[in-house]
Symmetry: C2
Subunit: 183 residues, 2 copies
């Protein structure tokens, strides 16, 4: 590839991810998305990703923005904030190397759900929708594996989030009155 697919404001382009394949492979134990990937598959995937570097304090993703890519944290630490009803950012998670960010927007094209800020110098691998589509056409089995892992990850998050929601609704004794958006 050689050319960055996009300008990411405030981020420094580091080239395509092939050079980082061994570091991405080393993330596997802490990376739900890659947990069933072989070294060869990581190398293949890396050919479709680009790497960027962010200094501490830089926004990687901003809530409400458009954006058709996801990021995998290769190194560093990231705060995830979402604005509450009073428009005040609230910390909803703090994540580290191995975590992926922004998968939902990569897939559904909806605005970003939360803002992700680097807490220290952070390296991220970027995969955008166009390259995901290329993987599916050019490397269908790798594409299916990646999509399967995405489905698995989202399914587990949805279970956990739905459990939390139902617990809170129970606590408020709203049980029978509160249908889930989608069960």
């Amino acid at each position: 590839m050689g050319e960055p697919a996009r300008e990411l404001a405030g981020l420094e382009y580091q080239g395509d991810a092939i050079r980082f394949a061994h570091r991405i492979h080393a993330l596997i134990p802490k990376c739900p998305l890659l947990e069933n990937f072989s070294h060869g598959e990581v190398r293949l995937l890396a050919q479709f990703m680009e790497v960027y570097r962010a200094e501490a304090g830089v926004e990687l993703i901003r809530e409400g923005d458009g954006g058709d890519f996801m990021m995998m944290i290769i190194e560093g630490r990231v705060d995830v904030n979402k604005r509450d009803r009073w428009n005040t950012p609230q910390l909803i998670a703090q994540v580290e190397a191995g975590r992926t960010l922004g998968e939902m927007s990569m897939i559904d094209g909806e605005p970003r759900f939360a803002t992700c800020v680097a807490l220290e110098p952070t390296l991220v691998g970027v995969l955008d929708r166009e390259n995901l589509a290329r993987i599916i056409v050019e490397q269908p089995l790798l594409g299916a594996k990646l999509l399967m892992e995405l489905v698995l990850m989202l399914s587990q998050r949805l279970r956990a989030t739905s459990d939390r929601l139902l617990d809170l609704m129970d606590a408020q004794s709203q049980g029978s009155g509160g249908l889930l958006p989608e069960p």
Copy 2:
């Protein structure tokens, strides 16, 4: 196929889904999973699915059970119930033809999240994990499309559920104290 892949207690095996392909195709406008499928793709998919019929009152899926298949409602209406902390079933949704049930367990193999009961005579198409795996190997592009739609569906449900959860947490002024299970 000709032989049912499994006995589903209380359900009546109707054969493989090819015979129902035109009815499944007619579901597309109300079926998020199939929204981008052509008639040919629906026919192809139907070769990997089986159809069952349930009388009113029959449980299609029981909360807590194992089960590696999803169901697509071809005809009928289904209540979705989940037990609250006092073990009392609470209605969390009522769904109709076009809706899919049980995708999460098909993918992650975890116990069923909720109980699904037919409210009237109901026809369902069943896709299990083994046949999903066969689709991916034998029809990789169809497999990728199906997985992509699953990711999209789960992503939209996760957004909606997370929004509801954050709203409730806001309402309880737990904002900054409540990290989401996964953002």
